[in-house]
């Protein structure tokens, strides 16, 4: 775990200056209509209402619309990871002063919580103190993102000042993380730090009406919302529907208009076939990658020849072509989100172990390496998660790929609970499916996953060389230097040592009823969920 928190904190947004292209958009083509209730389906469950302590989109989708953020991604341009705009602050998102160590936010005046209380800088300070410096025993899932923050203060009622210990480009994207909802200081003082687990009082576009656990969350338009003229909807209903088939049928039968996470290609095709132009499809690369992780605590998976053979067996380019027809994966990539300026070009990818297109040669080389390592016909216990998309689909494909080099792979599919116990506690697997799914895109932060010292790395390895490269990457100010170091990092992680194997990056497909307007797909299912832009054309 050495230095991982600080590395993570330092890195969260160093690379976040690059535009990404979403494939589809759904901007309003004509006059905005006000009114109506948006019904949408959510495939995950709500653990508690307190986004500061939770990590699932199951709480973002239904609860985020009740709250505001200090800053947020631009809902009109959500595919850009650098386009942040003020939500509860005024004017432009501040630049750092004092050598990048001080950020001063001017807070909007006249913002009211749903209970009628006025929002002041004290509420922002209380919120960020809860996130960054929670009292002992109070959970905060992302406090590690703010290790650079020294203090947060309010010199007056409408100014908030963040003082950093060191300049960090990761600060602003960390603030924009959609889990950082602003809560009332009065609520914290009066009710304590657990109150928000079960209660809601925000300044968001919608106010809370009711929650029937396991069934739905209902919100109604907040008339005193601080973005004038919004929201356009009268309200929303977030309907819990754990089964994908139900979510799909719900859109088809118009019980719901949209699902914000994403459907596989077949579901999209079925909907379009059944409903034609009543369905609009938005698609985007997704800031999630599916890996396989060899357990280097077990022999012979600490042998680089075996790890290289495993990667050489995988036909990524072929997989991209065929798997993208049946699974929510599509893009061949390295350690960085595809199409990002720090990502490897195709020419650079082709130089990495297992990325060349001549699969016959790759697999011949793989067999040779296995023979040299004395691991021909190796039996492998492959742990997978019992979720169809994309784990089981891609896992089954991987089994087929490895069989082509003579490996005997037994896939062990477990429900999420036992799967994580295997991955994180007992570590009794040879190779496991693994993944990395983040909200705000920041390649330099996201690649900490590959460090053996990271809390979410399950490969049981230490690689000081890789750690040293990462340290240099963190301190590289210029994008050109970052790019060179990122290639060095990537080559070490994926090609020379092959600590993990990337299969394919996920691909987000959101088919929705065409009457849903104003919502634009983002490269993460956590982003752009305030719902204040959405209107219904019916």
């Amino acid at each position: 775990m050495r230095n991982v928190y600080s590395k993570l904190a330092l890195s969260l947004a160093l690379g976040a200056g690059f535009a990404l292209g979403a494939v589809g958009t759904a901007g309003p083509a004509h006059a905005i209509k006000k009114g109506g209730i948006l019904n949408f389906v959510v495939g995950s469950k709500i653990p508690s209402y307190d986004l500061h302590r939770e990590t699932t989109f199951g709480v973002i989708h239904p609860i985020r619309p009740f709250y505001s953020l200090l800053i947020r991604i631009n809902p009109d341009n959500p595919s850009s990871p650098t386009d942040f705009i003020c939500d509860l602050c005024e004017g432009a998102v501040p630049k750092g002063t004092d050598g990048g160590k001080t950020f001063t936010f001017k807070i909007r005046k006249g913002v009211l919580f749903h209970n009628g209380e006025k929002l002041t800088a004290a509420d922002i300070v209380a919120t960020y103190k809860k996130i960054i410096f929670p009292p002992e025993g109070v959970p905060s899932a992302r406090k590690a993102f703010f290790k650079m923050v020294d203090s947060v203060t309010a010199p007056d009622d409408f100014t908030v000042v963040f003082k950093l210990k060191f300049p960090s480009g990761s600060f602003i994207p960390a603030v924009a993380t959609p889990f950082n909802i602003v809560v009332s200081k009065q609520d914290l003082d009066k009710h304590g730090y657990n109150w928000h687990k079960k209660n809601i009082n925000g300044t968001g576009a919608f106010s809370f009406v009711q929650h029937q656990p396991g069934s739905f969350v209902e919100g109604k338009r907040y008339d005193r919302y601080h973005h004038a003229g919004k929201p356009y909807l009268d309200g929303f209903k977030a309907i819990a529907a754990p089964k994908m088939a139900i979510r799909l049928q719900a859109i088809r039968g118009d019980r719901a208009a949209i699902e914000f996470r994403g459907f596989p290609p077949k579901a999209r095709d079925d909907l379009v076939k059944a409903l034609g132009d009543k369905i609009t499809v938005q698609e985007s690369d997704w800031n999630c990658a599916l890996f396989y992780t060899p357990n280097q605590g077990r022999k012979p998976f600490n042998d680089v020849r075996v790890k290289k053979a495993l990667s050489l067996a995988v036909d990524r380019w072929g997989g991209a072509k065929y798997l993208s027809r049946i699974a929510i994966v599509k893009t061949v990539g390295g350690v960085v989100f595809p199409k990002h300026p720090l990502a490897a070009t195709k020419a650079e990818l082709l130089k990495l172990t297992g990325y060349a297109t001549d699969m016959k040669a790759n697999r011949a080389q793989a067999k040779k390496l296995l023979a040299e390592a004395g691991a021909s016909g190796l039996k492998i216990d492959f742990s997978n998660r019992g979720v169809d998309q994309p784990y089981k689909v891609v896992g089954t494909w991987l089994v087929g790929q490895w069989k082509k080099i003579g490996l005997e792979v037994k896939q062990r599919v477990q429900p999420s609970g036992p799967f994580y116990a295997t991955l994180r506690k007992s570590k009794d697997f040879d190779i496991s499916i693994d993944f990395n799914c983040q909200s705000v895109i920041n390649p330099i932060a996201d690649v900490t996953k590959f460090l053996g010292s990271a809390g979410n790395n399950y490969g049981s390895y230490e690689d000081q060389t890789l750690e040293d490269i990462y340290d240099k990457l963190l301190r590289a100010a210029k994008e050109s230097d970052q790019r060179v170091l990122m290639r060095e990092f990537e080559t070490r992680a994926l090609s020379d040592q092959v600590h993990m194997g990337i299969t394919l990056w996920w691909y987000k497909i959101n088919p929705h009823r065409s009457y849903v307007k104003g919502w634009k797909i983002a490269p993460s299912h956590y982003l752009n969920q305030s719902l204040d832009q959405i209107w219904l054309d019916k």
């Binding site: 029937q212 139900i246 719900a250 999630c288 999420s416 799967f419 809390g455």
Partner: protein, 323 residues
Amino acid sequence: MYKYIVKRILLMFPTLIGAAMLVFFLLRLIPGDVCELRLAGTGLYADPAEIELCRTNLGLNDHIMVQFADFVLGFFILDLGESMWTGKAITFEIGLRFQLSLQVAFMATFVAVIISIPLGVISAVKQDTWIDYVVRTFSIFGIAIPSFWLGIMIILGLLISTQALLGEPWMPPIWYVSPFEDLGANMAQLIWPAVATGYRYSAVATRMTRSALLEVLREDYIRTARAKGLLEKIVINRHALKNSLLPVVTIIGIEFAFLMGGLVVTEQVFNLNGLGKLFVESVLNNDYSMTQALVMIVVTVFVITNFVVDLFYAWLDPRIRYS
């Protein structure tokens, strides 16, 4: 009769305690815990210290016997605690779903009874005629077709047929509305799962009614009744049917108890927020407190249902209570 009832009530307690021990310790044999899932299961950065804090806050780091004592004591004083996943009171979570599950169970039982008793009687009376064959085929299909598959077919059938007829596909509502709020919406949602499960349920009961009635119709007292010149309708309804209903009542009782918590897949197919769906979710989330409470409720429902069935037996057959 009172002695019989008291004896049956006393027998319930060891059953409940045995079930509590089994569910508590078996659950803990399943690898994984709720905190890992909540904080690491999304693929976002997971802080190991936060996971440990979550475990401490939920009491998962307490000694296992302390956890067991809390659970058993809570059950007997009717304080089931809070869900480890949602933090809400378990009684509140279950109460929300209980109304729906109870309604579906009653509706499915109603569907089953109105189908099975007449069909079973007709099938027995018209034994080995074409009518009997049709009824038996119908009931064999009911047993062979899983309810969830029938549910999927019903939904797809509704979507396709309504689109063909009305131009816009229609499917049943996917959230629950109380019948006291909107009876139409309530029925529009629940009639389909009631039919899907009631059909399978009726198939079992039809076959049981038929075979039990056939057996009774061969008894001497039936021959005597006929010899006395009673109308066949009276022979069947008054003398044969009542005596053939014992096994049918048993089946209906067991099936009703099963429907209260066992509609795991059917509830998912129709997106019903019932006890079965809650059961699946709590097991998948490693929500020990909720799973334990649900198992104990299902066990209690079974125990009470069996108790009621036993009483009904005793009422139907005096030999049971006198023995």
